[in-house]
């Protein structure tokens, strides 16, 4: 019960931010909507010039764009929430409170999930209105495991980037935005895995996101998804979660030895 109280306190902390700031709320939607507009019209164009041949590719592109945004936003949900308390010099108040690190991270998951849900709904509505693209009818119930695995991987990445911030403070801020783009070219998001050179495919196969995007294309092409895709993605996500937790713990200890922990938000 105490944990629920603390998690709800932190969840409230992030929700209150949006009550106070219209630009912040607007910003959540701005970039995903802009990206959808660009990629959506590219897909419409491909569909027009190629008729049936490439129509499934066009559908994949819009789907991939929405899925990429889910992955990116869930990672940002964790990391930005973390850094928000550094920006406002509130982090020491939290670090000296009875709030457990896992409770804090869990609250950022919930907040990230809520944000992702809202953005995905908005994108789905826009995609349906402008391009007659129906996310649900394209992916059916496969949508649930696909999105779930993306959220998990985004959260694991969020733990990893937050660890860097805990250790290096503001100096590591750029990595919050940069790390997801490191995995973008090798996650087979907008093109199939087979496009990558063999040595890059090996790296790509250790990312859960690759199996999600390959699975998504399989559903669009064949209306079916190989179960092993989702099982592999889930297992890899578990590994990344454990590694992320260990890495965070290690960075936290390092920050406590170097004195960085107490100085977070002061530089």
């Amino acid at each position: 019960m105490e944990s629920v109280n603390r998690i709800s306190g932190m969840f409230l902390r992030y929700v209150y931010l949006h009550k106070r700031s219209l630009p912040r709320t607007f910003e959540i939607m701005f970039w995903p909507v802009m990206e959808l507009l660009v990629w959506g019209f590219v897909a419409v164009y491909i569909q027009d010039v190629s008729k049936d041949t490439f129509s499934k590719i066009a559908v994949s592109l819009i789907n991939a764009m929405i899925f990429w945004d889910i992955l990116y936003r869930s990672q940002q949900g964790v990391s930005i929430s973390f850094i928000e308390d550094i920006w406002t010099q509130n982090i020491v108040n939290l670090l000296i409170s009875p709030l457990r690190i896992w409770e804090w991270i869990f609250a950022t998951f919930l907040y990230g999930f809520l944000k992702t849900l809202i953005i995905t709904l908005i994108l789905a509505v826009i995609a349906f209105s402008l391009y007659h693209f129906n996310l649900i009818s394209n992916l059916h119930l496969y949508l649930i495991p696909l999105v779930f695995n993306l959220l998990l991987f985004g959260w694991a990445l969020g733990i990893f980037t937050s660890s860097l911030v805990i250790r290096w403070g503001h100096a590591a801020e750029a990595l919050i935005w940069g790390v997801p783009f490191l995995i973008q070219p090798i996650s087979a998001i907008f093109y199939p895995l087979s496009v990558l050179p063999p040595w890059l495919q090996v790296i790509s196969r250790i990312l859960p996101s690759t199996y999600v995007f390959e699975g998504m294309r399989a559903v669009i092409q064949t209306r079916e998804m190989p179960v092993e895709y989702m099982v592999t993605a889930l297992l890899l996500n578990l590994v990344y979660f454990v590694l992320g937790g260990l890495f965070f713990n290690w960075m936290y200890k390092q920050a406590r030895i170097s004195g960085r922990l107490g100085r977070l938000g002061m530089d």
Binding site: R13, T88, V92, I96, P98, R100
Partner: protein
Amino acid sequence: MPALLVETKNLCKVYPETKALDNLSLRLNRGEILGLLGPNGAGKTTAIHILLGLLAPTSGEVKVFGMSPFTNRYSIAQRLNFSSAYAQLPSNLKVIENLTIFSKIYGVKKYREKIDTLLGLFEVSHLRNRLTGALSAGEKTRLNLTKCFLNDPELLLLDEPTASLDPEMADTVRKALKKIQKEKNMGILYTSHNMPEVEEICDRILFIHEGRTIAEGSPKDIIANFQSQSLEQVFIKIVRSGDLIWKKEG
């Protein structure tokens, strides 16, 4: 309940280029206000960060409520609180929102009434619906103190709590602090550069310089020992010849 709240023995913190703490030993009892004094860079914040579990010492022992702040951080955190000029509440939230969040984090029962009482005590009730970022420095300080008392702490670590207050408000805050401290029999570790304030509020003082203890005792005893008229004179003597004094005493 045990009388001893904080105990450190031969605490050292060494960074690659500097020694921030050099065998610092201190004790703080329940119901006592201990002033931790020293010039900038003396090691006060380092000592406080170690007590809060934010910084690992290089060597030495540290016990808060008889426990290590590194292995029992959460049990300790529930029973203490901290206020400092460099720890602010989120400026983009309202006062009442910030206090509600921290009430939930500390598991405060009947938190609405508690918040109202504390806001009244620190004379900031009229600010409850104001944006924290719009408060003056003095109002922010009082808000930080309000947050500090939400969990009825047995131990309070205050790093220059009245630094940005005008003399009248600083007096109000000191009186409020003293009142709650007496009522709750709380231990307070207090740092300040305002020597008259320290003389007024602290039962005992620990002067540190370059991480080492220079002098310890009641304000009166320290003034007498240093053959000075006031703590301010003692402070200046220590800063100007701290190393020398330590060697003589040591």
